[in-house]
């Protein structure tokens, strides 16, 4: 929709007003981004420069990046942490989708009678504070020999993201035109075929948005990782926190480690931002 000058006038938007608001938006955006910019900037400083009064101009060095990547024997290393995180996060996200897609189907297309109760039950589990469950989880994991394993985090991250995924996907499935499904049923297509050939192509952007949110929440999760899998098999957030030391200066090295740690999610989020907005507008409130 293109607005003519008169339309804009009717809308109360002068050209100068639009430009001014654009400028304000830019300033606010810069303000919001500033802490991240500052962190990246600090990662190129030496500890000596980083641990004084803040400065903007300095001689950049990659020294602290190397220090962050260097592994110290006996401690969780950068490469191990990234490998573990990718493994745990990807497997749990796939598992979430495998469980949530059929469940969302059962709650939306031809919903079971108690679809509302089932959905509420899923969401209500998100209200249980994870911290309140950590004690039994810790004891159970210990009894089952799951402490310090990838598996314990895969299981818990799947449970953590499943309710959100079922909820979002249910609304996306609701967008599929009924006639298409009925046509497929008339052709004798089974349930699996209906989901795979008729619905998934339509809800693909929604599935992508859901997967991305699961990825973000799982990648950034710290509490369960540090309680149940704190040592060598652990994940990136735990690795970041090991860069905080009580002895000596650590600001620049911590900045380098932090930048590395947030990079995968930030890049994924930047690429998929439009899909996320579309995903949310498509279904999340329906």
């Amino acid at each position: 929709m293109t607005l003519t000058a008169r339309d804009k006038q009717l809308r109360g938007q002068s050209r100068w007003g639009t430009a001014a608001l654009g400028l304000v938006t830019w300033l606010v955006a810069a303000l919001f981004f500033f802490p991240v910019f500052w962190m990246v900037l600090n990662s190129f400083k030496t500890e000596l420069v980083a641990n004084t009064k803040p400065v903007l101009l300095f001689e950049p060095t990659l020294d602290r990046w190397e220090a962050a990547i260097d592994s110290i024997p006996g401690l969780l290393s950068f490469s191990e942490a990234f490998f573990n995180s990718f493994l745990i996060v990807i497997v749990s996200t796939v598992l979430v989708l495998v469980l949530a897609i059929p469940a969302a189907y059962a709650l939306s297309i031809y919903p079971i009678k108690a679809w509302r109760d089932a959905l509420f039950f899923f969401i209500s589990t998100k209200f249980l504070p994870i911290v309140a469950a950590i004690l039994p989880l810790w004891i159970m994991a210990k009894e089952l020999g799951l402490l310090n394993t990838h598996l314990v985090l895969i299981i818990l991250y799947t449970a953590m993201n499943l309710p959100l995924a079922v909820w979002m996907l249910r609304s996306f499935f609701g967008e599929v035109p009924r006639e298409l499904i009925e046509a497929a049923q008339m052709d004798g297509t089974g349930l699996y075929g209906q989901i795979k050939d008729v619905m998934l192509p339509i809800v693909a952007p929604g599935v992508a948005a859901t997967a991305l949110l699961c990825f973000i929440f799982a990648w950034n999760e710290f509490f369960l990782a540090v309680q149940l899998n704190p040592v060598e098999g652990s994940t990136v957030p735990v690795w970041v926190s090991t860069n905080v030391t009580t002895r000596g200066n650590f600001m620049a090295k911590l900045s380098a480690a932090s930048t590395l740690a947030v990079l995968p999610v930030v890049i994924a989020g930047w690429i998929a931002q439009k899909k996320m907005i579309r995903g949310l507008s498509m279904g999340a409130v329906k």
């Binding site: 991240v36 499943l162 957030p237 949310l280 409130v285």
Partner: protein
């Protein structure tokens, strides 16, 4: 949807088709329930079984350091629990922290979305910059703000304050509660912005155009059309925000370590159990109280949600 089966032999192809579909759906009843079961079983096993164990633990006198029990003591942990002053304080912190963070995030997020919902140069880049805080790992966000923004010696904010000739303020030490809320709002405003933006972009343009032709004022359009339309999106933002912000742990852990004024319920329970208290029985009782309180809060929140669901029933 209901297929009224015509008398058999009816030549009407429409009714025949409807009957065929109805038959298909009846036959499929169990095959329709089945897809729900794996997810349902999984979530029951992982979230409900620990809760049942937790109730059992809460009835024991069970300490790890120094080792004692477990001995069955009935409800003793509970009577001790809900009168504990520190527990009650943490309940207050949880409520105020969640409310402040959710409402401020929604306010800021809505403002950001309104700013972004217009054409201007570099809009995509501005949006990219604005969503970034939401993508940052909470541990990183907490450490970053504490050490590099709020710190009275190395912090940027204090460098600016000092440039104006004022004294540096040790934000985290002096205002732990608001320091944490600030970081939470920084991270969650972009999420609210995404949701509101989704709402704004779903606005039917024909209604807006009609209003403009009728020379409605900008403010009129905003309060009469835009705001009511955004309401379900705002409700969604509040519910999702509350779910995640009630659980805040990481920011507190790295910023204040649960210092005065910043220990919410999750952090308190953690401190009492594997976070140093090692009083398993007592911690389990607190957890159970928290879970029951959460269910009460959830019932309210879900009522809001259910009004969301009622707007569009799946057929």
């Amino acid at each position: 949807m209901t297929a009224q089966a015509e008398p058999t032999g009816s030549p009407d192809p429409g009714a025949e088709r409807a009957a065929k579909i109805a038959e298909f759906q009846r036959r499929d009843k169990w095959r329709r329930r089945l897809p729900l079961l794996p997810a349902l079983l999984f979530i029951i096993v992982v979230t409900q079984i620990p809760f049942i164990f937790n109730i059992w633990y809460s009835l024991q006198d069970w300490r790890i350091v120094p080792p004692r029990g477990p001995d069955f003591v009935g409800l003793e942990n509970y009577t001790e629990g809900y009168t504990n002053q520190f527990f009650l304080q943490s309940v207050g912190i949880s409520i105020t922290m969640t409310t402040a963070a959710v409402l401020l995030s929604l306010l800021v997020g809505t403002a950001l979305a309104l700013l972004l919902d217009r054409q201007f140069l570099g809009r995509g880049i501005a949006r990219t910059l604005l969503i970034t805080p939401f993508l940052i790992m909470p541990v990183v966000a907490g450490l970053l703000w504490k050490n590099q923004i709020f710190s009275s010696t190395f912090g940027v904010l204090n460098a600016i304050i000092e440039a104006f000739g004022l004294d540096a303020i040790p934000f985290v030490e002096r205002y732990p509660f608001w320091a944490i809320v600030t970081v939470l709002v920084w991270q969650w405003s972009p999420f609210m912005m995404l949701i509101i933006l989704a709402g704004l972009q779903g606005q039917p343009t024909d209604i807006l155009e009609a209003a403009r032709v009728d020379r409605a004022s900008s403010r009129g359009i905003f309060t009469q059309i835009t705001l009511p339309m955004l309401r379900p999106y705002m409700e969604l933002g509040i519910v999702l925000g509350a779910i995640y912000l009630l659980q805040v742990f990481d920011h507190i852990e790295v910023m204040t370590g649960g210092g005065p004024g910043s220990t919410n319920v999750p952090y308190f329970v953690y401190q009492r159990s594997i976070g140093g208290g090692w009083d398993f029985g007592q911690a389990a009782a607190y957890s159970t109280i928290v879970v029951i309180a959460s269910i009460i809060i959830a019932t309210f929140a879900l009522r809001v949600l259910s009004s969301l669901f009622q707007r569009q029933e799946p057929v």
